[in-house]
Symmetry: C2
Subunit: 302 residues, 2 copies
């Protein structure tokens, strides 16, 4: 890839991602109907910065973060360990995590990112994954089916590969269970190519799939009632979410190592999380039904 | 050190640590006056096991864990990275974390451990550190003074060195603040010696200092009233405790990497923890007074 093409792609990617952040946050405000996003613009001392949008204590969302960032500079040790020739890096992305109040509405996370290294290598990465507290099979089927439909427009190998990647990536190794029911995860897409237009097109279509894959699930469950015990189970599962993010999540590690804005990186953590010693769901309970699919992932599409 | 001496020291250390676990848990039950410790004995597939004692929902303690473990087998990658000749390891220790209900009573953690590697190297490690939510200077002075008095019985260099080590170790790097007001931390004690009796004597005296350094603080504050806002601040600080333990704590990493019992390792996490976006204490508030000493540690002894 020539330098001039890189420059153009980089600009088009940042432009798309900024518009995606606005489109998603505007739709979520309408969906929530109770609170608005607060916006914080920040600079990174080593180069670049970002725009964080956070909504707190809404009608539906307890905490929702939709963050844009564009950072560059000397590559952190984390990157040069694998790519010694890549002295400088550029990374841009949208990262979002939505934590609803209700245990009947799943938490969701999505990330859409683009990397360039000074040795000329460039790639896309990202994914969307769903974390329900109670298993509504039709929700999970809808979610996976929408992701598959978008993947299939580009490459029939994408969905099976990226679904498996999500099942592997979101494993909380020390628990032997995943944080949720997965979705898709991909990285280094286009890293071996010098023409990244198809990958950029894919990223945009996946970005645009976020709202139609998630909002119907929220609408369906927004009026569901729940008990104190169901709320307690949600907080225990959120404890697992914290364990995954702080111990295993590469985005969190990358952010902490590259001097990203801590409050923007850790907006992914829920308002409240709970740990109980040696807690196990009652056999046959709805809590155990969920746990079983976190231990043994299923295929949700035909 | 000859093999026979190693064997004897190992036995005397495990015997001391088991008695220490019993003495501390018995005293904490009396102090709490509302709940008793549940005991779980567990085996480690690769060799060894442990005895966990957990008290939940007491009068004073929301969650208290006093764990003993004795594990051995092939060294994890974590150890052989630094010591390639140490194919086998033996590790025994008592680890305890007490999370009181009241934000006026500090959380406390202590660890007392002994390591042996198959290449003949052996050492002690450990420490005690205090995590108040509100700063009562006389508590912190009492706590540090008791630790210093015990250190000074053995070596006048110990306290200054181990106090600084705690201030360095308990730093939450990405926040630029410590999780608490420190205490002492030490590792590799005796690693360059072939006669570890003085170090074992020190470990026992430090182990025996735990109760007299902490129980007066609990007794002093057990009847203090507190507000909902003070409880909320406690939960925010507990969020930081979770960040430290999952991101930086070597004992947690060692436990997860060596296939320790997850429920025993993660008993250190509080029942409830809270994260709020971009929360900062009001200037001049008691919360800010605490935060200041977490950012800039003080000397608490003369």
């Amino acid at each position: 890839m020539t330098d001039s093409t890189q420059f153009l792609l980089k600009d088009r990617v940042t432009s798309y991602l900024q518009k995606l952040q606005d489109a998603i946050s505007t739709s979520l405000e309408t969906l929530d109907g109770g609170a608005t996003f607060r916006e914080d613009v920040w600079d990174r001392p080593g180069g670049g910065g970002g725009r964080s949008k956070i909504l707190c204590d809404g009608k539906i969302f307890e905490k929702a973060g939709v963050n844009y960032s564009e950072v560059y500079g000397s590559s952190p040790e984390y990157l040069t360990r694998e790519q010694p020739t890549a002295k400088e890096f550029f990374a841009t992305g949208v990262s979002l995590v939505l934590h609803p109040h209700s245990p009947k509405i799943p938490t969701i996370h999505a990330n859409f990112r683009y990397f360039e290294l000074s040795d000329g290598k460039a790639w896309f990465g990202g994914g969307i994954d769903l974390t329900p507290f109670y298993l509504d099979e039709s929700d999970v089927i809808l979610f996976h089916t929408k992701l598959k439909a978008t993947c299939d427009l580009h490459n029939l190998n994408y969905f099976p590969k990226f679904k498996q990647w999500a099942d592997d990536y979101f494993l909380i190794k020390h628990r032997g269970e995943r944080r949720g029911v997965g979705g898709i995860f991909f990285d280094q897409l286009g890293a071996d190519s010098n023409y990244l237009e198809p990958e950029f097109s894919f990223l945009q279509n996946i970005g645009n799939t976020f709202l139609p894959a998630y909002t119907p699930i929220v609408e369906k469950h927004r009026s569901d009632s729940y008990t104190e015990d169901e709320k307690r189970w949600q907080l225990l599962r959120r404890g697992r979410y914290v364990e995954f993010n702080l111990v295993y999540d590469k985005g969190t590690v990358f952010g902490l190592e590259t001097g990203g804005r801590i409050e923007s990186i850790l907006m992914s953590l829920p308002t409240l999380a709970r740990w109980e010693y040696d807690n196990h769901p009652i056999p046959g309970s709805p809590e155990e039904v969920l746990l079983n699919v976190l231990v043994t992932p299923r295929d949700w599409t035909l």
